[in-house]
Structure formats: C-alpha cells, structure tokens
C-alpha cells in the first residue's frame, strides 16, 4: 500500500528534521580568545509582556544610562587603571519565567559574559538566583521586595538584596500612623486594599503584623485581582468604614486608577498611601498639584545633590525622569558593581566578596551592605511641593516631616 509507505517515510522525515533541528541548536559556542578589548555585560529584561511596564521604568533605563556613562568615560576602570568599554548583550524574557532562566543560562554559558545584571521582578530574580549562584555570578537583585531576603542571601552567597522586605515598609508606615494618631491628626482606623500578587500579598501580610503590633485597627482589608480597573466599590466601602487612613498596596495601573477614582468619588482620607506608581514620572505629570500629600514606598532625600544630579542626567538621557523609589537604587547597585570591578578586576568571586564587604561611595552616599542586603533605604515618602521626599525612617538624616492630614482634593 503506497499510503502506508508514504506515512513511514514521513515519519522518518519527521525524525530527521527533529534531529537536525536539535543539532542546529547546538550552534557552535564561540569562545572569546585573544586580548580582551571589552567587558561583556548581559541581561534579560521584560521588553514585552505583562512585566514590560515595570521593567521599562525602574530597571532598563538605568542599565542604559549607566552603560552610556561608563562607555562615555572610556569604559570600566580596571585595577591597573586601564579602561575597557562595556559590550552589552540584551535579551527579551517576554515576561515568562522559563525565558528568564534560559536567557541567564545563555548569557552564562554561551555568551560567556563577564557579568549579568538581574531581571525585573521578585519572581524572576528568584527564578534566576540559583543560576547566578551555579555559574558564579554576583546577583544585585534590586526590584525584589521580600522578607525572605536574609534567608536568600544565606542560601546564595553571591546574591544581594537591595530593596528590603515588606516589614520594613509597613513598620515605617505604622510608625508614621502612630505618631499622627498620638498627635490627634487621625483616628486609629486604617482601610487597606492590596493587589493579589506577590508584591501586594507580601506587603499586606507584613502590614497586618505591623499594624497589630502598633495597635492600629484594620477596619477594611480586601485583596483585588491583578487587572482590576474599577475601584469605585472598594473606595466606597473604605469611605464607609470611617477610617482616616487609606492604604493601597497597588501596582501602577491600579495606583493611577485609584488616584483618579478617589477624586471622582470625593474620597478624602487624611492619609492616602498607595503602592508602585506614585513615584512614576507620568504620575506627577498627569495629576499636577493634586498629588500633594500622597504617600508611598520609597522617597528621595532632595537635599542630596548627587541624587538630584543623577535625576537630571537620567531625565536628559532617557527623555523622562526616573521614578522616586527603585530607580536610584538600581543605579546605585550599578555604581557599586563598577567600583567593585575597579578594585578587584573581572574576577567574579572577588567582585562578589568586595560587594559583600566593601564600602562604596555612590549616588546614595556611603553604602555598605549588611548581610548582603542594602538597609539604608527610604521606606516611606510623600509628595511635597512637586518632589517625592523621604519621610521614613524619620530618624535618618535627610528625612522630612510628613505633612498630614493630606489636604482634600482641589475642588472641581
């Protein structure tokens, strides 16, 4: 039967094609030999997909700015004083875990890059962590907020966690609320909504603890799914709860929508604290003077000239301002890497050790990691006169007193 033999043939063709394709994928791995003319730095970042919005603000522009500046200065300085320009290898992880993992493998074993910059997001940094560890690359995880940072730093000795954990932020918030309550500005009730994603859950779990410890009443506490666009029901319920403080552990689109919808609903809590996005340049651009008094995570000491100068450079090179929370930390982590390389060369083991133990002069001032974690962070900020200034921890130098209660939305 001819049909039969044709099928068999096709089966064989199929197999052959599969094998060929497999072999093709082994494309000769290029080893760089000869004298070094550059330092290869690679990263995988979400250029498309769900995470592109966040990565495109906090992470990618700072990588680009830093590379631009370093190469503008002739390259990375080596211990012998020579300079090697940075050669960038960039992949799009398409917001998929498996892609991150494979891209890191590719950077480490095929591209043989000298250093790998971390991806964006808590989940992706964790997915990448075992690989950084296995291939011996230091991982300067910035956009990852996790209370398990100490545990991770111990598990993967070359991992560095730069943005603190949920407790840091919620305890700072609880302190402010306690102060304000004691001052008689606000009552002791808080309404909280949180996004049902790693970030939101981490923070709300921490907040429940911190608020309970501080004796603050959580009178409204709900979680909403990622992708929610209409917050009116939640704002109405929060308003009805009688709490003077409204807290949203939210993602950027949610933060923007909440801001608009709170105005429409004429909802005027005395303390308005929201999550990621409050510090985005577009937030200030869209809301004008209405942002005055709104609080969030992060913040900047505007008296620190280095930071303000960095912001100006970023704005000029990228075409938009950096956000007021993670960006500067990202930039700071790159400066630390640059300095560590300058001190110890391209030996990744040595660089990791230097990052762990050294003291660095960066845009944030003098920085030294504690147990591979950056602890000198601003955990709370507030929009005051067009700047998102740091208000917590209040005992740190450069902190500004919060202006509360927040003025009601301007009349429409």
């Amino acid at each position: 039967m001819t049909l039969y033999s044709r099928r068999t043939t096709l089966r064989a063709i199929g197999l052959a094609a599969a094998l060929l394709a497999g072999a093709g994928s082994m494309a000769v791995i290029a080893q760089d030999t000869g004298d070094r003319t550059s330092v290869k730095i690679g990263y995988a970042i979400s250029k498309t997909g769900a995470n592109a919005g966040g990565a495109g603000i906090t992470t990618l522009p700072n990588y680009q700015l830093w590379v631009h500046e370093v190469n503008g200065a002739g390259g990375l300085e080596m211990p012998d004083g020579s300079r090697l320009p940075i050669e960038v290898i960039e992949y799009d992880d398409r917001s998929a875990s498996e892609e991150v993992v494979r891209a890191i493998e590719r950077l480490a074993t095929q591209d043989n890059v000298d250093f790998i910059l971390p991806p964006w997001g808590t989940g992706f940094n964790l997915a990448a962590a075992p690989l950084f560890d296995r291939f011996g690359y230091p991982q300067l995880a910035v956009s990852a907020v996790t209370d398990k940072a100490p545990e991770f730093a111990a598990r993967w000795s070359k991992s560095f966690w730069m943005l603190g954990g949920g407790h840091d932020y919620t305890e700072a918030l609880a302190d402010i609320l306690t102060d304000q309550h004691e001052a008689g500005t606000i009552n002791n009730d808080v309404a909280v909504i949180s996004v049902a994603d790693g970030f939101g859950i981490d923070l709300i779990t921490a907040a429940r603890q911190s608020f309970a410890d501080a004796g603050i009443n959580l009178v409204y506490d709900v979680t909403y799914p990622v992708g929610t666009t209409d917050f009116t029901p939640m704002l109405n319920e929060a308003a009805a709860s009688g709490a003077d403080t409204f807290v949203a552990f939210s993602y950027p689109p949610d933060t923007f929508a909440l801001t608009q919808q709170a105005q429409v609903a004429a909802y005027n809590p005395k303390v308005l604290y929201m999550g990621v996005g409050v510090g985005f340049p577009v937030y200030a651009a869209n809301n004008g003077d209405k942002i005055e008094g709104i609080m969030s995570l992060g913040g900047i000491d505007i008296t620190n000239e280095a930071v303000m100068e960095y912001r100006a450079r970023h704005t000029e090179f990228i075409g938009q301002a950096p956000d007021w929370w993670g960006s500067v930390i990202t930039y700071n982590s790159l400066q630390m890497l640059e300095e560590a390389i300058k001190r110890r060369g391209l030996d990744r083991e040595a660089v990791a050790e230097e990052l762990s133990n050294g003291t660095f002069e960066t845009v944030l001032g003098e920085v030294k990691l504690e147990d591979n974690q950056l602890r000198t962070l601003w955990f709370g900020g507030q929009w005051q006169d067009g700047n998102f200034v740091a208000v917590a921890p209040s005992d740190r130098e450069g902190a500004v007193a919060p202006r509360l209660p927040k003025a009601p939305w301007p009349a429409q």
Binding site: G56, G227, D230, A266, N286
Partner: protein
C-alpha cells in the same frame, strides 16, 4: 444598592462598547481577530498623543482617529483577510487561518507600538470630574464612554435591524453563500463590516484612554474580555454583546462590593462558564452552535 447598580452599568457600558466591534468582525466578516485589542490600544496611544502634544481633546480626537481606524481596517481586510477568505472557499479553513494570521498581526502592531511608544504605562487626565447620578458620583469620562456605548449600540442596532442596508449585512452573517443571489457583494460588505469593527475598537480605545492606564502589552487583555462578552452574548449578536457587557459590569461591581473584590474576575469567568453551560451558544445565540 443603587450605587452598585449605576457603577456596574457604567463599567459594563465600556465592556459592551469594546465587544460590539469584535462581534461585527466575527459575526459578519467571519474573522476571529486576535489583534483586536492591539488596535484598541493603538487608538488609546493616538488619543494620548493628540491630547498631550497637540492639545486636541479626545472627543475631537475621535474625529481624527476613527476615520483612520476605518481606513486601516479596510486596508487590512483587503490585503490580509481577503486572500484567506477566497482561499477558504475551497479548504474551509478560515477560522484557523484567521486565528493564525491575526495572531501575527497582533505581534506586528504590538511591536510597532513598543518601538514607537515604548513599554511604559501611559495615562492622562481628561474629564476626571465627578458627576452626580442619582446620588452616586460617576466620573464624567466614564459616563461619556457609557453614553457613547449606548448611542453606538442603539444606532447600530437600529441600522442593522431596520434598514435594508443593515439587513444585507445580517444576511451575510446568516448565509454568505446565498447573499450574491440577492445582489449583495459579499466581499465588499464583509470588508466594510470589518472596517466598522476596527473603528469601534478604536472608539473603545479612545474612551478607555481617558480613564485607564494602558501600555503596549495590554491589548490581549481587552481582546479576551471582548471575546468573553461576545461569546456570552451569542456570536454576531449586537444586542447580546450589549446585554452581556452590562451584565458583566454589574456582576463585577456587586461581587466587589458585597462578596470580595478578590473574586471579581473569578465571578466574571464563573458567570461566563455558567451561561455557556446553561445556553451553549450564548444568551442570544442560536439553539445550535455554529
């Protein structure tokens, strides 16, 4: 309760507006357009650009965006879909082909947006003022979107059911093979319906841009939501899209207010699955699926 209902209706109005264009494209032109949401987002970016650079308010912006969207849809159908439709007369593979081709189109449009607009979240403020409706504060921009949905829905419904021209469009949906027998140019009419659907997508995009944050990667979300509504209402049925959209809005708001905001999306899909199990071809669908 009234507050919940009004908020829900207004939310549902947007859903309905977005879904109606898709139901035109699928029901009449028979193109399962996976790039629908990308067109919507593109229009949102266009409205944003017009507003932020030229100061043209989005309502006037519609006058610029809609004709362009129509032309774009007209062009895409002619260049991309027409050959597939012609080919499928023999092979009957239009559904699969259109899914694959518009999946490609999705990537192209998304890629262009990423290059042109970047991946950042974008939003601007327009008409974000509260308007009191029966004791409930509703944002003017949402109210406007709702009104537009109702006007477009009603106009389309009237035209499709009460005019000869509308009847010819429905005739294509019902029996494309018989349409030439009564002098209908199927190709031209399907092309027109596709372009009209594209225009509706764009109008949805402009409306949404007034009050929602968007970025270049978000199109799929809208495509899927629109598909859910279209299917729930019954394919190609405008009335179905309208009712299903409003229903969804109300259910989401009810659940958010009285049950748990964490379950709004789950409720959406539960409702959707429930409707399909109860009526396998949607609320207003034919007794037997196609």
């Amino acid at each position: 309760m009234i507050t919940t209902l009004i908020t829900g209706l207004v939310l549902g109005g947007t859903y309905a507006l977005v879904a109606m264009g898709l139901t035109l494209q699928y029901g009449i032109s028979r193109i399962m357009n996976l790039a629908y949401g990308e067109i919507l987002i593109f229009a949102a970016f266009a409205a944003f650009l017009l507003f932020s650079t030229l100061g043209i308010n989005p309502i006037l912006g519609l006058a610029i965006v809609l004709p362009l969207a129509f032309a774009f849809g007209y062009l895409i159908y002619g260049v991309m879909m027409q050959p597939l439709v012609a080919r499928s007369k023999k092979s009957g593979t239009l559904e699969v082909d259109s899914i694959l081709a518009t999946f490609g189109l999705l990537f192209v449009i998304q890629g262009v947006m990423l290059v042109v607009f970047g991946s950042n979240y974008t939003s601007y403020n327009f008409l974000n003022t509260g308007i009191n409706v029966l004791g409930t504060n509703i944002a003017a921009n949402r109210l406007l979107a709702f009104a537009l949905a109702v006007i477009i829905g009603a106009t389309l419904f009237y035209v499709l059911t009460r005019t000869r021209w509308g009847t010819t469009i429905r005739a294509i949906a019902v029996n494309p093979d018989a349409a030439p027998l009564v002098g209908i140019d199927v190709n031209r009419t399907a092309r027109f319906a596709f372009a009209l659907g594209t225009m509706l997508a764009a109008s949805g995009g402009v409306m949404i841009s007034m009050y929602q944050t968007f970025n270049a990667s978000m199109g799929v979300v809208f495509t899927m939501k629109a598909l859910v509504i279209v299917i729930m209402g019954g394919l190609g049925n405008l009335m179905g899209a309208l009712v299903a959209g409003l229903l969804l809005g109300i259910v989401e708001t009810l659940v958010a207010t009285h049950v748990d905001p964490g379950l709004t999306l789950a409720a959406t899909y539960l409702l959707f699955l429930g409707v399909l199990l109860w009526k396998p071809s949607g609320l207003f669908g034919k007794a037997a699926g196609r």
